[in-house]
């Protein structure tokens, strides 16, 4: 964990240009399958080191010095240099008719993954060849190869029902990423609040913002949607019975049931990683406290002591042993992040920089993303073991409500500028933020599921 912010000495990503002929496509390459050596899954820390490891320490210091002397406008350009990428040639990926959407989504995913940049034939390190047609069903043949290693990495035929081109493209993107030892995120989905209809409703989209579908039609206030770990259900807070209550909505059936409707405020509604428990912020006793309870019902167990504080936004650690949450117990003006064992005990304060630190999301990579008010809200990423934290947004707008993508590299959040909110994809390795929602209305409070 402590390695996170250290200078990585991981080996440099394959960026060397090989001039050797890849014009002869991938003929003669070793067929993948069982011959391919098992590829180590590269986690976030290693991934990060790998990503920035190419910079030597001296270079980094030089960069810092450069930043100190450059005018602000120039700084932005340097910071936006982005992460190291491998070149990929997809000029011989062909798709006709309705299958062009498959091709477009797949290529966009590979770019958004942060690991690839498209290149012309002849100089690319990777080659993506294939065809996709849609006639009733979508049929795609995909051959992905490492040109530099002269090796097939993926050779597969796919079939999907008509209209499922986007989902199939996301699946193929994740399989291509897995073939180079990277975890993909494109099979995931985002739940968010949108105001397109004029009211605040829940919507679900693919990871690239496409496939947007409206889930609720309540004409009500709703807050804080969060996925249950099964990826089939969503908890959120709504005022359907005039008070803030926590609901659980089943995506397939759209049926909904009350999770918590105690007197006073019911919020939080974070389902534990094992799916059995729910963390709640309740005020039924006349003060706010963090509780855990079986998701199905039962008596809530209070974890925090009674205090005159506002508590919010509980989120479980990936192993389910702890909960990070927001409390302004130290000062009413300044909500901060605290962490507590799922069985109670003394909370530990995690944040001190920034006048407000809110909306924590504890990723499967062990890191906590949160929004920190430093002039404007910015997204920071913290290692809860060392409390080291790093701001990953460029400061040009308010970035809030971060949620980790399943690749452990990207974060989905809302970005507000000029009183308009949209969903953005952030890269912890330095690629610039990407807008995911182009639809009119405000879009905010995103939460990501891996499935």
């Amino acid at each position: 964990m402590g390695k996170f912010w250290r200078d990585g000495r991981g080996h440099r990503p394959r960026l060397q240009k090989e001039s050797s002929a890849c014009s002869a496509a991938v003929a003669g390459f070793v067929e993948a399958g069982s011959n391919t050596p098992p590829r180590r899954q590269i986690g976030f820390f290693q991934g990060l080191e790998k990503g920035v490891g190419g910079f030597s320490k001296a270079w980094k210091i030089a960069l810092v010095l450069l930043l100190a002397v450059l005018p602000a406008s120039a700084q932005v350009r340097v910071v936006k240099g982005g992460s190291a990428k491998a070149t990929i040639d997809w000029s011989r990926l062909v798709a006709g008719g309705a299958a062009t959407e498959f091709k477009r989504v797949l290529e966009d995913d590979l770019i958004h993954s942060g690991w690839f940049t498209p290149a012309a034939p002849g100089g690319a390190e990777f080659s993506l060849v294939g065809s996709a047609q849609e006639s009733g069903a979508l049929n795609a043949t995909i051959q992905f190869a490492s040109v530099t290693q002269r090796q097939w990495l993926l050779s597969k035929q796919y079939t999907a029902e008509g209209g499922a081109a986007r989902r199939l493209a996301h699946k193929v993107a994740d399989e291509i990423l897995a073939a180079i030892g990277r975890k993909g995120m494109f099979s995931g989905r985002i739940v968010m609040i949108g105001t397109r209809s004029g009211a605040k409703e829940l919507y679900v989209s693919d990871m690239d913002g496409g496939n947007l579908s409206q889930i609720t039609s309540d004409h009500n206030i709703c807050l804080g949607p969060h996925w249950a770990p099964d990826g089939n259900r969503i908890t959120y807070t709504a005022f359907l019975k005039r008070y803030p209550d926590v609901y659980l909505i089943d995506l397939a059936s759209r049926s909904r049931r009350v999770v918590a409707s105690y007197p006073g405020m019911n919020s939080g509604g974070a389902v534990s990683p094992d799916g059995g428990m729910v963390a709640l912020i309740l005020s039924k006793e006349g003060y706010q406290a963090l509780y855990v309870r079986a998701l199905g019902g039962g008596v809530p167990m209070r974890l925090t002591d009674g205090s005159r504080a506002a508590l919010a936004s509980p989120c479980w650690s990936p192993d389910g042993s702890h909960i990070v949450y927001v409390s302004d117990q130290a000062s009413t003006a300044h909500p901060q992040l605290y962490m507590i064992s799922r069985s109670g005990g003394a909370p530990r304060r995690l944040t001190s920089r920034g006048s407000q630190n809110v909306a924590p999301c504890w990723g499967a990579n062990g890191l906590i993303a949160y929004a920190s008010l430093q002039g404007r809200f910015q997204i920071c990423v913290m290692d809860p073991n060392t409390l080291d934290s790093k701001m990953i947004t460029p400061g040009d707008a308010d970035y809030e409500d971060p949620s980790w993508a399943s690749d452990g590299r990207h974060i989905v959040c809302s970005r507000t500028a000029g009183y308009r909110s949209r969903i953005y994809l952030l890269d912890t390795l330095g690629d610039p933020p990407v807008a995911l929602s182009e639809v009119s209305g405000d879009w905010y409070s995103p939460s990501v599921t891996a499935k």
């Binding site: 605040k200 206030i221 807050l223 804080g224 807070t237 005022f239 019975k241 005039r242 008070y243 803030p244 105690y262 007197p263 006073g264 405020m265 919020s267 912020i281 005020s283 039924k284 006793e285 006349g286 003060y287 706010q288 406290a289 008596v299 809530p300 167990m301 209070r302 974890l303 002591d305 009674g306 205090s307 005159r308 504080a309 506002a310 508590l311 919010a312 936004s313 927001v326 302004d328 009413t332 003006a333 300044h334 909500p335 064992s341 069985s343 109670g344 005990g345 003394a346 407000q356 809110v358 909306a359 929004a371 008010l373 809030e400 409500d401 009183y419 905010y444 409070s445």
Partner: protein
């Protein structure tokens, strides 16, 4: 006068500390439902909420003036106390009437934290109503967070109007 108040606050503080530390073993992860009533200050004083009013109950809004708050504060200011006192007088006289204290926030900051801050504002007003002798069971709290602003501007003038607690009577 001033020093007397400070002495009171100090004494209350000491009671809080003693009570909390005495309770700690019992409260932390004991699995018990319910609170450590009566130990951490006036607004936590044996004050669990009663059941919510029936959805068909008659609600009367707008009869009393809202209480306004400073930025990121849940403190009922000296200047706002007469408003709460007027509500207390009314409820104590009217039988079968309860009050929902509805807390609101300005547009700045996290939505979920603002929901909780609005609840804190409602709780602050509830605590003051209780010190004025209103039965705790007759006071509900409700937060709308920053979701129901009355002023839509993006300036301090609007924000000040939105940081409020409204009174809704129910019967």
């Amino acid at each position: 006068m001033q020093s007397k108040r400070w002495m009171m606050m100090l004494a209350m503080g000491l009671v809080c500390v003693a009570a909390v530390s005495g309770c700690k073993k019992k409260t932390a992860g004991s699995g018990s439902d319910g609170g450590i009533g009566g130990v951490t200050g006036a607004d936590l004083n044996g004050s669990g909420l009663g059941g919510r009013p029936d959805l068909n109950a008659t609600e009367m809004a707008g009869q009393f003036v809202p209480v306004y708050f400073d930025y990121d504060s849940a403190q009922v200011k000296e200047s706002e106390r007469a408003k709460v006192e007027a509500v207390a007088e009314h409820i104590k006289k009217a039988s079968g009437v309860g009050v929902i204290v509805e807390g609101h926030c300005d547009e700045r900051g996290s939505r979920e934290y603002n929901l909780s801050l609005g609840e804190r504002r409602a709780q602050g007003v509830r605590a003051y109503l209780m010190t004025l002798g209103v039965d705790a069971a007759r006071i509900q709290t409700k937060s709308m967070g920053k979701e129901k602003p009355v002023a839509l501007g993006h300036d301090e003038e609007s924000w000040a109007k939105n940081r409020r607690a409204e009174f809704v009577l129910f019967k």
